[in-house]
């Protein structure tokens, strides 16, 4: 059944490429959304405790949260594209079976985002008056994560779709039920990863700001220390909940040992990493982010293995997804990728370099690159019109 549900048009390029893009872009997505949840939680804690150092950091993280959510949303769009290209039967079945929540999700995320901004507007609300908005925002954002989780869990269980859709032969077209979930998996992927994403981000930002001449080294060293301590506390829990995930979801797919090994390696590995940074955690900032990115890739691949094994039971495999090589798509995406990556790199350079110096200097080299990148984006429109004219005139 799954195979016949695939779109008869097939994919416009090698399906495994979409799978790789799915994994990579999901890593970005999950880093930003969990980072947002981490920084939101931390801000609430800081405003509640009212310790001066904590408050100072809490105001910064309150401003970090909405930007992380914004980036989480944009980076979520890419995996959304790719998942429905190669896993369309699953994604569409899950989204219709859970239709009400799949649509309400939008309002939940918008609400969570807006409420996070309330705190930002008041520059971290000095006296903590707007704490309720931060709490409400955190609740909504976590709920959005829950919806995503349910969608995924429903999607990898084709054997149960029919019993959910038409129990006793009566169709249920409301889409209001949360048909499948695995709490340990969600705790592993959401709150615990939130702690680790946030820990790595804190260490990274402290390391980054420490390079400024007008930096406040005491505060930044302290901040990096906070990041490290969060990491130390959360990493073992991460391993434990990973194990619980292995024992709850693993047996269904015969993957208990596999998930358990991943959980143990990640738990111990991350704990060891944070533990080793006991001398000067601030110096390990860049490394912390790198190690964390690596861990997330492992998690992303693990999710993919579970999905592949589950679908393998029904002879569904990305490797045999029908495809054509559609040159128009390839040219459009190829050219836009070169332009897009250049412009985004330039934007990040501007943010990064201007934040490094007290007076916001951007290096001449970056400026030169920026001129080229901007010209490329301008030229992109020329390319777009040319390929458009060609198509309009010759592909009739």
């Amino acid at each position: 059944m799954l195979e016949m549900m695939r779109d008869p048009l097939g994919a416009p390029f090698f399906p495994v490429v979409f799978q790789a893009l799915l994994v990579v872009t999901w890593v970005l997505h999950i880093h930003f959304v969990t980072g947002a949840i981490g920084s939101s939680t931390f801000s609430i804690y800081a405003f509640w405790r009212k310790d001066p150092n904590l408050l100072r950091l809490g105001r910064i993280t309150a401003r970090l949260t909405p930007n992380m959510v914004g980036l989480g949303i944009v980076t979520g769009i890419a995996p959304l594209l790719f998942v429905q290209t190669i896993y369309d039967p699953l994604w569409y079945a899950a989204n219709t079976l859970t239709g009400f929540w799949s649509v309400t999700f939008i309002f939940i995320v918008m609400g969570g985002y807006s409420l996070a901004y309330l705190l930002f507007y008041l520059k971290g609300s000095k006296d903590g008056r707007l704490l309720w908005s931060a709490v409400a925002s955190l609740v909504l954002l976590s709920f959005a994560g829950w919806v995503m989780h349910v969608l995924h869990q429903v999607s990898i269980r084709p054997d149960q779709w029919m019993s959910w859709y038409a129990p006793g032969g009566v169709i249920d077209t409301r889409g209001v039920q949360f048909h499948a979930y695995d709490v340990p998996r969600l705790l592993f992927l959401l709150p615990l990863q939130a702690g680790l994403s946030f820990a790595a981000t804190l260490m990274f930002v402290s390391w980054y700001l420490r390079q400024r001449v007008d930096a406040d080294p005491t505060f930044l060293d302290w901040t990096a220390g906070v990041g490290r301590r969060i990491g130390l506390w959360v990493a073992p829990l991460y391993g434990v909940f990973g194990l619980l995930w292995a024992f709850t979801e693993g047996p269904e797919f015969g993957l208990t040992a596999f998930i358990a090994v991943v959980a143990i390696v990640l738990g111990i590995g991350l704990f060891a990493f944070f533990w080793l940074q006991n001398k000067q955690p601030v110096r390990a900032g860049a490394k912390a982010l790198g190690v964390w990115a690596l861990a997330l890739v492992v998690v992303a691949v693990t999710r993919e293995v579970i999905r592949a094994v589950s679908l393998g039971r029904f002879n569904y495999s990305v490797a045999n997804y029908p495809y054509i090589i559609d040159w128009g798509s390839v040219i459009m995406f190829g050219v836009t990728s070169v332009v897009g990556v250049s412009v985004v790199t330039y934007l990040i350079m501007v943010i990064y370099q201007s934040g490094l110096s007290a007076d916001g200097t951007v290096s001449a080299k970056a400026e030169g690159f920026g001129r080229v990148a901007t010209a490329m984006l301008g030229a992109w429109f020329g390319f777009f019109v040319l390929i458009g004219l060609y198509s309009s005139l010759f592909l009739r």
Binding site: L97, G99, W161, G175, M332, I351, G355, G360, W380
Partner: protein
């Protein structure tokens, strides 16, 4: 092919429309504002006007908070809602254009990272650097617009794609050029609306307040004239005859055209006024103008969406999510023909065979069973555009609020018995916005039985209809 999500309280298609309206506002505004801010910033740099940066900072914050992220999120929202409402429609688009959407994604990234960079580096980095960011935002926003038009216009006029199956042919389809140019022209009307709101908020005598208002009037008028011109001289003539006939049918809710005309007239009046009497321009006028403009855009977007009925992709897949045309170039075979012969039930995933419907209920009579079977079919075949059950009716007192309810339509046409309804459905393709029903005679009879029952459910204790959204 997939489970049906009918919607909850309101119809699934209404969720799409509501989210889309909001998205159109936010997305057009970001592109429009990016160009306006670029204009202001260029003047600020050239003429060394420090005070303008104050305006830019405020504008950037508002845009960053609301327009960009909300625009992106509402864009995702259209996706989620169309996915839940009509997955195979979005699937066709995805499997043709995923890499075009991927290209648009780079433009989103430029927009969102760009506005963050723009806001946080304002006043910190050099002026030329910051001006470059303004350029990137304007170009990036325009890039998203250019790309999405290819995908949107494809739905109505897939053009040569129906023969050669090439994504480029579908993307740069017959209505692509007029639509993309028309959108850019109208974008300047929105830009001028936005700048009027901003400029009228400036204190009197502030840096060329009047001059900005005059410019806005002129630019907007040019955009309006060009846009309306393209509509009549290029876009409308390019539309398929079928689409034009639907334009003048009752498929378009009657309020739509007055809404559009009001918007155009209001735009012409406000912009002319701004040009000739900039000193008299007021903020409330600008705001009213924006609201009317938005209503007109909503109307126009609805028309664009409705005129391809009864298809999702014109000439390829219909609203009931069945492919009705072969596409040999991509090895696709139509599904509708076969299902007309062998019947729907049991022959598509998620469509139970008749003998498995309502099996848990052992005490049902044959008549009730037929109604249950009809229910499944009606939901499948009619549910994506019509209200077909109480689940998507909002009821209060003796009224109900619905989307094109089949109960109301049959009552209106005085066909309320199963036999009458059956005969009516048999010839339903007589309407330009309806396809022939897919299925066997027995299936049609079951559908009629359910619809008779549905009319009774709807009208048990409430005779009046509020209206069709």
């Amino acid at each position: 092919m997939y489970p049906v999500w009918e919607g909850m309280f309101i119809h699934s298609a209404m969720y799409v429309a509501i989210i889309a309206t909001f998205h159109v506002l936010a997305s057009h505004l970001t592109v429009a504002a990016a160009w306006f801010n670029l204009y202001i910033e260029r003047r600020a740099v050239r003429e060394n006007r420090e005070e303008l940066y104050e305006y830019l900072k405020r504008s950037a914050l508002g845009l960053m908070v609301f327009a960009y992220v909300f625009g992106a999120m509402a864009g995702v929202g259209i996706w989620q809602s169309t996915t839940a409402a009509n997955p195979r429609g979005i699937s066709t688009l995805i499997h043709n254009f995923v890499l075009y959407w991927g290209s648009e994604w780079y433009m989103f990234l430029i927009d969102v990272i760009g506005i963050i960079a723009y806001y946080y580096t304002l006043g910190r980095v050099g002026k030329q650097t910051h001006l470059r960011l303004a350029w990137l935002l304007a170009l990036g926003g325009s890039g998203t617009l250019a790309i999405i038009v290819g995908i949107l216009s494809f739905k109505l006029t897939p053009g040569a794609w129906l023969e050669n199956g090439l994504s480029l042919a579908g993307f740069f389809n017959p209505t692509f050029w007029p639509q993309v140019l028309m959108r850019f022209a109208f974008m300047f009307v929105i830009t001028s609306g936005w700048s009027l709101i901003i400029a009228t908020g400036l204190p009197r005598g502030f840096f060329e307040r009047e001059k900005i208002i005059r410019y806005a009037g002129a630019i907007g008028l040019i955009g309006l004239v060009v846009g309306v011109g393209i509509w009549f001289l290029w876009y409308q003539p390019t539309l398929p005859a079928h689409a034009r006939s639907i334009m003048s049918s009752r498929a378009i809710v009657p309020i739509t055209y007055p809404l559009i005309i009001t918007g155009v007239v209001a735009a012409a009046a406000t912009l002319t006024f701004s040009y000739f009497r900039p000193q008299l321009q007021r903020r409330w006028i600008a705001l009213t103008f924006m609201v009317l403009l938005q209503a007109a855009i909503f109307g126009a977007e609805r028309v664009r969406e409705v005129i391809r009925k009864p298809d999702i992709i014109s000439g390829y897949i219909s609203s009931n999510q069945l492919l009705f045309a072969d596409l040999p170039a991509r090895g696709v075979e139509r599904e509708e023909q076969r299902l007309k012969e062998i019947g729907m039930l049991g022959n598509l995933p998620f469509l139970l065979p008749a003998d498995q419907i309502d099996v848990a209920n052992i005490s049902t009579t044959d008549a009730q069973r037929q109604i249950a079977v009809g229910h499944v079919l009606v939901v499948q075949e009619c549910g994506s555009c019509h209200n077909v059950s109480l689940q998507t009716q909002i009821r209060f007192a003796d009224q109900h609020l619905v989307l094109r309810s089949l109960a109301d339509l049959f009552v209106l046409r005085q066909r309320t018995t199963a036999a009458d309804i059956d005969a009516y459905i048999k010839g339903i393709q007589g309407f330009p916005y309806m396809h022939e029903m897919v299925g066997t005679d027995a299936e049609r009879a079951a559908m009629a039985a359910y619809l008779e029952d549905f009319i009774k459910q709807t009208y048990t204790n409430q005779p009046a209809v509020i209206g069709q959204k």
